[in-house]
Symmetry: D2
Subunit: 386 residues, 4 copies
């Protein structure tokens, strides 16, 4: 019997961490064949070169799809998506997959959904049913309505997808594959590398051995203009706290330049000597860095998911993770310098009282997904359940 061809489209660095163990599990499954498409910012150096990590992890890439249109504005975000539909339509026409996987809620993920569903290819959506506060919110739920099968990451999310009218026989709480990586790291949490030595980065060579915090702050699309202002507040708070800090540059989206420029200009003006900056890090290394940190500051979803599983304290800033189910490890603060500082101090105090939890999975998500994909009846025809 011929294997089912499962085509996964990875469009960004964070999406790759979200799917990596599922890719491995699909690849390893006797009834499945993996078709891997890398597209959009995942191909580009200035957004972290996800493609390099993917290749280092031993994956063969079936097609590279260049679609990012320069423009540093919302119009180009829309046009990138349109171009994505056109290019991915060709890709699927040529690869002839039995099913396509689209991941989460970045703006360009809807291109995968349209290119597949319009060609009657069964579509699997990963991480539907969550709640956030900007264009991602619209994109995620639209992906749900275009998809035939749903792999969600929590019970909360499953409830929401079902309420939206999806068929319960096609909605699965698999947990998030990112937890699979955390699961492995959790078995041995020691920091077995020197971050600056291994990853270089820029800024002062801070003395992190006595303890450090980690910062990762992304722009929020609907707050485009404020990105720069907001990151300044975090920078100021972190600078003033004076703790050794590893700061990660943001992913791209239409406000990326706001945030990045904010960081650049703060650095030039203030040369914060307690902060060392990284572009990116291997997911395992990043999680290991978090395990050994005092806390994570910013608005990354890693704070909500992996840090829940690993029991790492988190200061979550602003609206970006709004509405996502969270564990006791998280404290929420607004875009406010004083609130951020207080948040960090609070987490330092709580550090040893935080327990690990399984809201977002228990470490076998990739395998669960592969098993379902191998055995479920694929369909591309659905009707709302009410």
């Amino acid at each position: 019997m011929s294997k089912r061809k499962i085509c996964v489209v990875v469009t960004a660095r964070p999406s790759y961490s979200r799917i990596k163990t599922a890719l491995k599990a699909i690849q390893a499954h006797p009834k499945l064949e993996l078709q891997l498409v890398v597209a959009a910012s995942a191909l580009l150096g200035r957004y972290g070169n996800a493609i390099n990590y993917i290749e280092e992890d031993g994956f063969k890439i079936d097609e590279k799809v260049f679609i990012v249109l320069e423009g540093e504005n919302k119009t180009s975000m829309a046009k990138t998506t349109g171009l994505g539909v056109m290019e991915l339509a060709n890709t699927f026409y040529n690869l002839k997959p039995d099913a396509v996987i689209t991941i989460a809620d970045r703006f360009e993920t809807i291109a995968t959904s349209i290119a597949a569903s319009y060609q009657n290819i069964p579509l699997i959506h990963i991480q539907g049913g969550e709640v956030t506060g900007n264009i991602d919110e619209k994109v995620r739920h639209a992906n749900t309505k275009l998809a035939d099968i749903h792999f969600v990451a929590s019970e909360d999310a499953k409830t929401r997808v079902l309420k939206m009218g999806e068929d319960e026989n096609y909605v699965f709480n698999t947990g998030c594959p990112s937890i699979d990586i955390a699961f492995k790291v959790n078995k041995n949490r020691s920091l077995n590398f020197d971050p600056i030595e291994k990853y270089g980065g820029v800024g002062n060579k801070i003395d992190w051995k006595e303890g450090y915090i980690v910062v990762m702050q992304h722009p929020v699309t609907t707050e485009y203009k404020e990105s720069r202002e907001n990151v300044y507040k975090t920078l100021k708070a972190v600078h003033e706290l004076g703790l050794p800090t590893f700061w990660f540059w943001p992913n791209v989206d239409s406000g990326a330049d706001g945030t990045s420029k904010g960081i650049r200009s703060y650095r030039e003006e203030h040369q914060p000597d307690n902060i060392h900056f990284f572009k990116n890090m291997k997911p395992e290394d990043f999680l290991r860095l978090l395990c050994n940190s005092k806390c994570l500051v910013g608005n990354s979803s890693v704070g909500i998911r992996e840090c829940a599983f690993l029991g790492v304290p988190v200061v979550n800033i602003g609206t970006r993770q709004h509405g996502r189910q969270r564990g006791e490890n998280v404290i929420d603060v607004p875009y406010d310098e004083i609130a951020i500082k207080e948040g960090v101090l609070n987490r330092l105090e709580m550090q040893n009282k935080i327990t690990q939890n399984n809201i977002y999975g228990s470490g076998k998500s990739g395998e669960k997904m592969a098993d379902i994909l191998a055995n479920i009846e694929l369909r591309f025809h659905k009707t709302i359940m009410y």
Copy 2:
């Protein structure tokens, strides 16, 4: 105070009938300014030249957007949509509307939704919440999830949109503007023109004065290959019934050629002398023709909506209108020659027993829409309600 600019994107002939009275009402409203974009098949001769009707009705067109990619397959349907996103992104960037309206569920309507929502322009979706049986089903609900404001056509539909997690302050049962046209026609139902004289068409000059039936059958996307076979069954049934018949060519979508070719080859083989074929007709004239017919046969949504209001008997064939609320005027039959013939005979009997109903509106939908658009607080930021 400057007027609110409401940009409406019309992409097909049937969408125009669905929105025409709303366009008039927006145009006439003292607080609103209409921006009219005509795109996709609405611009093309071989899909009925909707643009001509629009211009004849006195509308000024702000932009024409050519996006239909030839290919006669599903890949080109996807690529047309992708190109639509790109082109409409420019259009909205240039026109700077305060809100954009996307209509119903044709595949390319999601291009309007993406181009507007990704640029943070409030999006109004018309005719969400309905249920059908193919790609339109996915597109319609995805449009709902991308949209900020919903104008639905029935209570059924409203309930569904709310269940999907939309905010009740932004969901309005306005009825369908197509009923506004039926409302006018209903005041004087007489057939005040000679159809063949006024519209030409091809085929025998049938003697329709003693009674006739009307047929309109569209292809169904997920049944792509069967389009030809299915239309053959209807042709045979109608041919054998021998009643004077006006037959309307289908709209385009990816199976259009199947249906059109079916009709063409049946004509060449059998030269059915009781059937006269039309390409299209002004909406008012078409409704008037229906009012005076014995029944409508096929799978057009006109049978479900306008015919409910007008009390015209309908033989609805196959799955295309599956799941849409219907009145007692409709009898459903499968793609089957005998069932179709029996359906027609049944309707001929029932003809005088059918009453008119208001499921899809009472004739003031366009005005209702304009009033809401003028006064509602526009927003482009929403969160699922559960």
Copy 3:
């Protein structure tokens, strides 16, 4: 040693006839590997389905590239070309050819030229150096300036390409591969099939056995609006002459509808009973039909090339073949009913006095091309020679 991969892009039915024997020769050559891309109107039913002929001839198609944008105007011609550049850029990126061949001067052929030359892939242009009277003129010479190697069809053409500043080591008069087919047909010129029986077509079943003429008239781009008027004149002339006539529908380009509509409306009005219409015919059959005709009427380049080799009399109408070297078989007439009729009568008289000539090749063009492609030093870097 690995074979040189030669990628040929066929975008239209007439281009295929121009290149077919070269495709066969490349395929058969021990040092070459053929990569065949079929694109644009060559894929579409309403432009003659060239793809079917290509597949029937036993070629494997490496990629199909859909780019024709509907619009029936010049804007869509430009946009089709732009889309062609984008899609073919991907195609070449994936196929990684050692050289790419672009054919002649249709508007979309420049897409092939740009997609190849911009990616530093050596580009071969077929049939440069000719002269015509519309956008093709610009496209052809621009193709020459983007190309690295030139296969021209006549001495005239070679001289022109050299004058434009190309390097004589890279310009070859190979003749036109279309003559290779004529060469085979010429060995046995008998009409070994019944045209109407084999190809159907529409219109009266004319009695062609005692002699017939053939008509093929294409629209001329810069005379867009006059296409309809011009074809009317030819129709009237041919109708009035009353000779049994086989008429071939035009290829597509932006005026196609003008010509096609002209033919359709003339047929409806006048029902010319001496004319039988064909959509298309296998090239060999078409040439055989010409060999046995009294003359060819219209503006097809077949009249200039193949008919020169075969010694078939030609009435060439209007400006489309303006500036192309021609043999004594051709008489030129303007768009004028009387002139056309006189032209035909003149050719009927001359019929037996016309000799065959080799202006456009002697029947080995395909093989010559393959040999050069196998042995020439490929380059993608050139400088004007003065």
Copy 4:
């Protein structure tokens, strides 16, 4: 009488300097109306934000066209061009210009040429007939063959355009408008601003008052991979010479990252304390900076044109300006550290012996162009002259 609408498409910072005085002259001409389109890298911050300069100069921009596709490779260069054709086709359709101007030979300029010529809009090409050594060579001459009117910058160039078969009534040696700016600067050559104070930049605050050199080195497309290596050699030579140096970052094209990365990594490794880096400078200021420099080093065309007129010594490195007519101010050297150093020393010696010349115009090019545009018979139909 209505004014002739002349639409100029500016796609990059250097093109703007090439056309600025012509824009002013068109704007000022009583019989002309300027339509200004800014596209491609001219819109983007990381390629020097030409748009800001254009707006500061008081021009109203009729349309902004975003087309640059990220990808850092040749495929994306082709796709950017294809997208440019599509977008500019719309632009011209909407603006309805009487003529379109395309500038020089950057890869995306052919998009302007196709979008105009395919829509039968008369096309003027600026700076045809020159000779260089990469894809620009092909693009420039293809632009010539698509254009109807030619404004060339030197007698050499005029001769070449005529040889290519263009009609002498439509080829004009107007000189280069960039010389018009040099002409103004030449009237008062003093350095009336402090470069570092006015433009910031990065690197050491060099002491330039006793003399300095200027460097501007762009990547060369066909030497894609060597860009980084080549710029390293120049950096090393300039660093070792130890003269105070102002270095300008390169424009974008597909190798831009190679050059830019080369500069960045050299700076990090060697921190050359005699070099100060600028992103860009107003054209007048830049020319003034050159007038007062000891010499210009690199491969910019400014060295060939403006520096000829201004009598500034130039060390021209490598193949980029290959084949362009040059004055005695230029010495050519290969990509070689020692040769570059010797070249600079040679120019320092010759500094006072160099005279100014008018090869590329005498300072009235913009006005000449406007006058011709106002009075010439526009056409979009041409035939090669032999």
